[in-house]
Subunit: 337 residues, 2 copies
Amino acid sequence: MYRVAIIEGDGIGPEVVNAALHVLNKVVARYALNIEFIKVEAGDAAVKKYGVAVPEDSWRIIKSCDVILKGPVGESAGDVVVKIRRGLDLYANIRPSKAFPGVKALNPNIDLVIVRENTEDVYVRAEYILPNDVSIAIRVISKKASQRIARKAFEIARNRRKKVTVVHKANVLTITDGLFRSMTYEVKKEYPDVDIDEMYIDAAVMDIVRKPERFDVIVTTNLYGDILSDLAAYVSGSIGLASSANIGDEKAMFEPIHGAAFDIAGKGIANPTAMILSAAWMLKWLGEKSHSERYVEAGKSIERAVEITLAEGKKLTPDLGGNATTIEFTEAIASKI
Amino acid sequence: MYRVAIIEGDGIGPEVVNAALHVLNKVVARYALNIEFIKVEAGDAAVKKYGVAVPEDSWRIIKSCDVILKGPVGESAGDVVVKIRRGLDLYANIRPSKAFPGVKALNPNIDLVIVRENTEDVYVRAEYILPNDVSIAIRVISKKASQRIARKAFEIARNRRKKVTVVHKANVLTITDGLFRSMTYEVKKEYPDVDIDEMYIDAAVMDIVRKPERFDVIVTTNLYGDILSDLAAYVSGSIGLASSANIGDEKAMFEPIHGAAFDIAGKGIANPTAMILSAAWMLKWLGEKSHSERYVEAGKSIERAVEITLAEGKKLTPDLGGNATTIEFTEAIASKI
Ligand SMILES: CC(C)[C@H](C(=O)O)[C@@H](O)C(=O)O
Ligand SMILES: CC(C)[C@H](C(=O)O)[C@@H](O)C(=O)O
């Protein structure tokens, strides 16, 4: 039996998480999966109630579960995700961007995966106030973390178009980004079948819009990965479609890339696609980890149902140009499983 | 008499700088300007010849000049620009993005100015190697630098659509970006006629493509400004058109946003627009500083000539869909002055 921690999140979080749970329950029955879902309090609501974004009790449950399915969190998102990513050493943040049939993309040629280092950079949150009103933050880049994320990127590229682009700013951050860059080149030697090239972050941001087809797998540090992935998601169609995985050696967390979208919260019109695809990815990950075909198949069946629903274009949420509610769109997906 | 230090740069640098000098010589004669141009060695060629990107002799000349006109530099760009920006305390990096009539823009509604803090953030270049293969960089944000750049942004917004958006990542960088953010809100009180709002950097990068019309003036820290400005330039048409100003209390440096473009260097097809517009901006700055209408008029006459040449569309460089050479395009501009 797998134990899944569910973080509903804030804003549209509960709506899209409930949509995902609806679809999950369908495949649990259909594929006879053995999963327990455990709702965990974390985020803005927890801050209000307990004064902290991730209360001790929640943290204990999170640590005890096999995997986490997380909805978008509001103001306190940084406290929630960074605690889980770093606390469970979920060092690889994997963010694919690809156009869906039936969804208008800014550039339909985009088909890339961002492999974002998930434990270091300014996300170590070592900030200080010095005398004379000067504040500093420490950006950390280690050899070990750079190597393991590079390896992840090359493994992924090996099963794709076999190209890794390391994105950095080593013309300014000579030592830290220089280390990240050189570790990528070092790891590349283990992958003679995969090509490597490099790009500055400022140029990469432009080229994700201008010629995304030049990218296959991007490996980069934490903050650049954050910045690149919202944009890539938008170029591929909508940030409402982009799911992501935070993967460690033992555990993982799956979540949409988008935020809590307070402006449309409670209106029943949020697009749950990213959340549902995160749930599908979670099942595939559980299945691959334990060599259990049923879980992989269950995950794939959700992906197919989403793709068909988007391609049909009959029931779409407003962000995709339709006028379906979250529930109607979710029903359309669930009915295809 | 004004003394202008000219840095030719690398790659296409000498080609576009010569184009700018050609146009400058025309207005110097036409408007009876009193300017001495002094070529200064700096960049990759200087590294090769002297082992440093900015040799002592060059630095002495740069410091003694009233203003610097800088072409794009190659590998050593970081060493050249950061030394000049920080060394001369050119704290405001101003980067406007606006579509030109006649030039196809990804989004013609873009009309914004990025006001980038130019002396702090990771650009202080304080990087260290610690034991156990860990490297760190220190990101510095001070109250003073945050306040003065905010003031610059509000001054600019006051003469535009009266809105400042502060872009940050204070959900992770609570202290440093928190300080930058709160200083912007504090300075806002001095400008009751100007509105303020804020956005996370990851969302801002997406919105510069998705709905650039929501931005008027963006104020942000050094690295975010770097990342945002290449993208904004691309959205407005081409990075080949984007000029920028690095402005301090006494001195200034003007330069294109684009890089040395080694792939097309020496082919005579580089687009000199950004460089020529940087020269025009320099003249306007000199004129405004010294209340000398002639200089302002000379700068404006270059801007008009560029706009007309682009709008006519008869002589355009290949990046704009034409087949004119750098020299032919420059001649077309010069002939309109
Ligand atoms: C909410 C925020 C802290 C987070 C991040 O910066 O990682 C988010 O933008 C993301 O990309 O998952
Ligand atoms: C060359 C590089 C150091 C520079 C920067 O990062 O500032 C450039 O990208 C720019 O934007 O002027």
